[in-house]
Symmetry: C2
Subunit: 270 residues, 2 copies
């Protein structure tokens, strides 16, 4: 039986999905969060659909042990390629993916119907953003570009490095020539580079952060089902990871913009 | 019983280790090669030692099914952190790691005893190159630098891109101020960027390619044990991978500098 006191489960291929945790904390500070990051097998975005589906199933099972009231797929690659796997593995729980939320917000915000999408190789090749946007707004035109270097550049802390700017200009140029007025950041790492991306797109392009979009969807869904937490205290997120690399603490601070790193629990996959 | 007809087993976290396959083919064209790339869990270089040791054990078991006469660890990260795991998992087979081979060649080639080493975060943090070099040449001075962006830049094909040059200059600058005369490429991907690296270091710095070094060590070891293949025909390498990503073929061509991509067998890890 789902209860307002149950936690919200969030998972990602690594710790990029902490941007979703941050958005949830900001919008729904009373919610208890269980987060799983598959840091032993990160990244997913360069791997095949078969492997991504297997990992998505295992990630869901790990969250299910904590009896969540909702599962949020913070990973765009899993949202794009394995949403149905998560739905099938979660015993009828409500499931939200960042991709659908980001696509929905893009459709809502665009004025000229020309939407750009950037993401990992696997997300972009799946064409899932274009399909999701097309199903909501058949007349919209979607221009996509994989930006495989953005994740390593963000993780290396090259946030406002001239090399990052040079690469970003090259990636974004072919979207901007199509006169897009909305750009979806289709990867949880990309909000880290948002300021630089905005500098390149200029102020007339609306940037859609999928993390914020999925937090909005979660609020609506929980409210509709009477499942919003009634807690008056904020509890720090419960973090599970499949590997604890040396860079974990610095990455945690980068994504959550906080100096406090809570305890982390190491769990095995499979 | 080891036989000259048995294959040489080579493994890597992904397909970067194909640079070792290339070096082996060039030096020992009669040898039959079994290669395993753990493409479902690549990269290792950002993960913890515990996880890297577990993966190294599983990778070795996969090669053991093919009864090799020698195991070559093409992955610098595994050589640095889990050489003993591979030795313990391979029933007394001879084992060679790229790291020891690269360190040995650097000691042989240096004139002023000042050696630079570049590699992944995990390889550099392990300090394993400095230890290996120090045990052979106690007076040598070793200067190390992790270059985490080199792998994604090489895989993205940004081989002679100005952004890559800018990043490489930044990475290498702090080694070059120490007047190194030898630079070890301590990651199987880095030979792809060798021309650019040489442009930055200048012609007076000897660049050590660990792939070539380990092929030399393999020839010496097989000859000493009477295990050199006597085959007169060259057979293409037998390739095993744990995932078959979309980019596999283009990466194969990049690393092996060939247009022929042989059949690839997909195998599960434990």
């Amino acid at each position: 039986m789902l209860s307002p006191d149950s936690p919200v489960g969030i998972f990602d291929s690594g710790i990029g999905g902490l941007t979703v945790v941050r958005a949830m904390q900001s919008l729904l500070p009373s919610e208890r969060i269980i987060y799983f990051g598959d840091t032993a097998r990160v990244p997913y975005g360069t791997k095949s659909q078969v492997t991504i589906c297997r990992y998505a199933h295992e990630d869901t099972r790990i969250l299910m042990r904590h009896q969540p009231k909702l599962i949020i797929i913070a990973c765009n690659t899993v949202s794009a390629l394995a949403l149905n796997v998560v739905e099938n593995s979660s015993n009828g729980l409500p499931v939200l993916g960042v991709l659908e939320a980001g696509a929905g917000l893009a459709v809502e915000r665009t004025r000229n119907g020309r939407i750009g999408v950037i993401g990992t190789q696997a997300t972009i090749c799946s064409n899932a953003y274009a399909c999701a946007i097309g199903s909501m707004a058949p007349d919209a035109e979607v221009y996509s570009r994989a930006c495989p270097l953005f994740v390593p550049l963000a993780e290396e802390g090259f946030i406002d490095h001239p090399a990052t700017k040079m690469i970003a200009e090259e990636y974004l140029e072919e979207l901007l020539v199509h006169d897009i007025d909305t750009l979806v950041l289709g990867c949880t790492h990309y909000p880290i580079l948002k300021a630089m991306i905005r500098e390149i797109t200029g102020p007339d392009v609306t940037i859609i952060d999928s993390a914020e979009a999925v937090a909005e969807s979660a609020r609506t869904m929980l409210a509709e089902r009477g499942l919003l937490s009634t807690a008056t205290e904020t509890t720090p997120p419960h973090l599970l990871v499949s590997d604890l690399p040396q860079k974990f603490q610095s990455l945690y601070r980068l994504f959550l913009r906080t100096s406090e790193v809570p305890d982390v629990e190491l769990v095995g996959t499979e």
